[in-house]
């Protein structure tokens, strides 16, 4: 029997010919992503255990993002611990303030993600990088410490689930709507412990940015990783972004690979979606919730803070005024500059939005746009859990950048198709 792309990558990393779902393996790690919330704890553990070393200073990518620039004294301490450690070990790819950005937007953009590799990060949305035909998963601080010190981790090989995206998306409907529709169908634990493998026409028509929005949210269905095959679009992105090492290995799922479940979707029938509070699986078509009054719109994060997202939002906001607080957060300094150079900042400014520095900020209720009791926010982020963006009695409505922008203009949930 054949193997899935996930199984092939893990087999290679474990130095085995084949692996099967459920098998425990020791896998070699190619890239370790470190940020300011989970890494300082990992560092302390390593120091405490007397194994304060790094397996390869070139293969660890460090960027503060959650609370950067530091939001208070405590987060400043986290940043200082991260900074001292990165310097002590002369980490090659250490992105400091000014070059630091939201991790999952930054790593692909800076050329740290290659097909066929195993990438782990101290953040649940590390599954984003699977868009590049890589195995990529989020881990906690102890795993992170072990990965930093040894370059290896234990994994249980996940079974794979195949999501077939048939048809083409209609105008005004985006990859965010697709992933919200998928999670609405399969649930927040619909892919628990599994690999979500995306295939199909709608996927092949998407840019890498759009694809990353989908793998980013694989964890919201409980998946261990999200993964997509390599194609011309992947190659073009890599040709543009990979820097020194341009070599990589492309793995593909065999035709007779085994899937625990196959779900087909007719993407041509999809409409703009909004995930209602308080679960990412709460997705409904915009028609079912339009008119709900909002207090804030948030356009940013590792899900939808890339240049393409900002362009989509700007196109809708051009020449309009927002009716509610609207916060735009370019996810990395490069995106920030690109948006400025393209004149998007003028559009956002004229519309009455505020533009923030690259940060996770309010996505996790940290700072830069936290919600008060009872407030509602339409947000391009990936989680709408209780209290996620602020007060436990505030509410988050997940949507695409287009829907967030249209809703910002109206001050209530709005179908973006009227603006396209």
């Amino acid at each position: 029997m054949g193997m899935t792309i996930t199984e092939k990558i893990l087999a290679k990393a474990a130095n085995k010919k084949t692996v099967r779902p459920g098998e425990l393996i020791d896998a070699k790690i190619d890239v370790v992503m470190c940020h300011d919330v989970t890494t300082p704890a990992a560092i302390s553990m390593l120091v405490e255990k007397g194994i304060d070393k790094v397996f390869d200073k070139d293969k660890i990518v460090v960027t503060p993002d959650h609370f950067q620039p530091a939001k208070d004294v405590k987060s400043a301490e986290l940043h200082r611990r991260l900074d001292r450690w990165a310097r002590r070990h002369q980490i090659t790819h250490y992105y400091e303030l000014g070059r630091a950005g939201v991790c999952h937007a930054l790593l692909p953009e800076q050329g740290h993600i290659r097909p066929g590799e195993v990438i782990v990060g101290g953040d649940s949305h590390t599954c984003t990088y699977g868009a590049f035909a890589a195995f990529s998963t989020g881990i906690g601080s102890t795993d992170l410490a072990a990965a930093i010190a040894t370059g290896k981790l234990w994994f249980k090989v996940p079974a794979s689930m195949k999501l077939v995206l048939n048809g083409s998306l209609a105008p005004g409907v985006y990859s965010k709507d697709v992933i919200l529709a998928i999670i609405a169908r399969i649930g927040t634990d619909g892919a628990l412990y599994q690999a979500m493998e995306f295939v199909g026409l709608a996927l092949s028509e998407m840019s890498m940015e759009a694809r990353m929005t989908m793998t980013n949210m694989a964890i919201e269905a409980g998946a261990k990783n999200g993964i997509m095959a390599f194609d011309d679009t992947t190659k073009r992105y890599l040709d543009e972004h990979l820097k020194d090492e341009k070599e990589y290995t492309v793995y593909e799922s065999d035709a007779d690979a085994a899937y625990v479940r196959v779900e087909e979707f007719d993407c041509s029938a999809f409409e703009p979606m909004v995930a209602l509070p308080h679960l990412p699986s709460g997705g409904v078509p915009i028609g079912d919730c339009a008119g709900e009054a909002m207090d804030q719109a948030y356009i940013g994060s590792c899900t939808n803070g890339r240049i393409e997202d900002l362009r989509i939002a700007a196109k809708i906001l051009k020449g309009k005024k927002v009716a509610i607080r609207t916060i735009v957060v370019p996810a990395t300094p490069t995106i920030w500059k690109q948006a400025m150079d393209e004149g998007l900042f003028d559009i956002f400014y004229d519309a009455g939005c505020v533009i923030s520095a690259p940060t996770c900020g309010a996505c996790l209720g940290g700072f830069m746009g936290v919600l008060a009791e009872g407030e509602k926010c339409v947000s391009t982020t990936n989680r709408n859990f209780v209290g996620r963006m602020g007060h436990p009695k505030s509410e988050v409505y997940l949507a695409s950048p287009a829907t967030a922008a249209a809703s910002a203009i109206q001050g209530k949930l709005t179908d973006p198709r009227g603006y396209i």
Binding site: L24, V37, T38, P40, A41, S44, M45, L46, K49, I51, H66, F67, K71, D72, K74, S75, L78, G122, D123, S124, T126, G138, I139, G140, S141, T142, D143, A145, A146, A149, T150, K152, W154, T188, D189, L192, Y193, I219, G222, K224, L279, L364, G365, G366, V370, R383, F385, V386, G387, R388, P392
Partner: protein
């Protein structure tokens, strides 16, 4: 006695276990002060050493923050019993040497406030209040090995 704190709900997520607003520290005692704050504000005042949290499906879903496990451990909770656990939370718990009990049935036999005793080796939960005895599948051997070594780092240190 070990009292059960029952939250009869699925998808109790890491933001409810330890809200992100407290992630500016990784000090376990500090985190423990806010354990389950957005789920049950009064939890830290009523929890006692050795108590048990009981939840439904997909407990611990959401972020990869190990802080969720630390907050619970810091609150001196003995274990969490849930029908199923979210993947990263489950893995984090094993890695930091915290035993979790996955049992689709056990939550049906535990009421809030019941006195619970757990036999980890034999794999059963004893409800001393009702007399019910519920079997569960003990953690796999490799996980027990990690826990017995005192967590993943001690475990990998042995082979370094």
């Amino acid at each position: 006695m070990s009292r059960a704190h029952v939250y009869n709900r699925d998808h109790i997520n890491t933001d409810e276990i330890i809200p992100a607003r407290y992630l500016n520290t990784d000090d376990e005692q500090e985190l423990a002060k806010h354990c389950l704050e957005d789920l049950d504000e009064g939890f830290v005042d009523k929890v006692a050493e050795g108590d048990i949290i009981v939840g439904g499906e997909d407990f611990g879903c959401g972020s990869s923050r190990e802080h969720a496990v630390w907050a619970i451990r810091g609150a001196k909770v003995q274990t969490v019993i849930a029908r199923t656990f979210a993947r990263i939370f489950y893995r984090n718990a094993i890695n930091c040497g915290f035993y979790l009990i996955e049992s689709p049935e056990a939550p049906d036999h535990i009421n809030d406030g019941d006195d619970i005793e757990i036999n980890y080796e034999a794999g059963y939960v004893m409800n001393k209040t009702t007399g019910a005895e519920i079997k569960f599948n003990p953690l796999p051997d490799f996980a027990v090995e990690i826990i017995n070594d005192g967590g993943l780092l001690e475990h990998v240190k042995k082979s370094m």
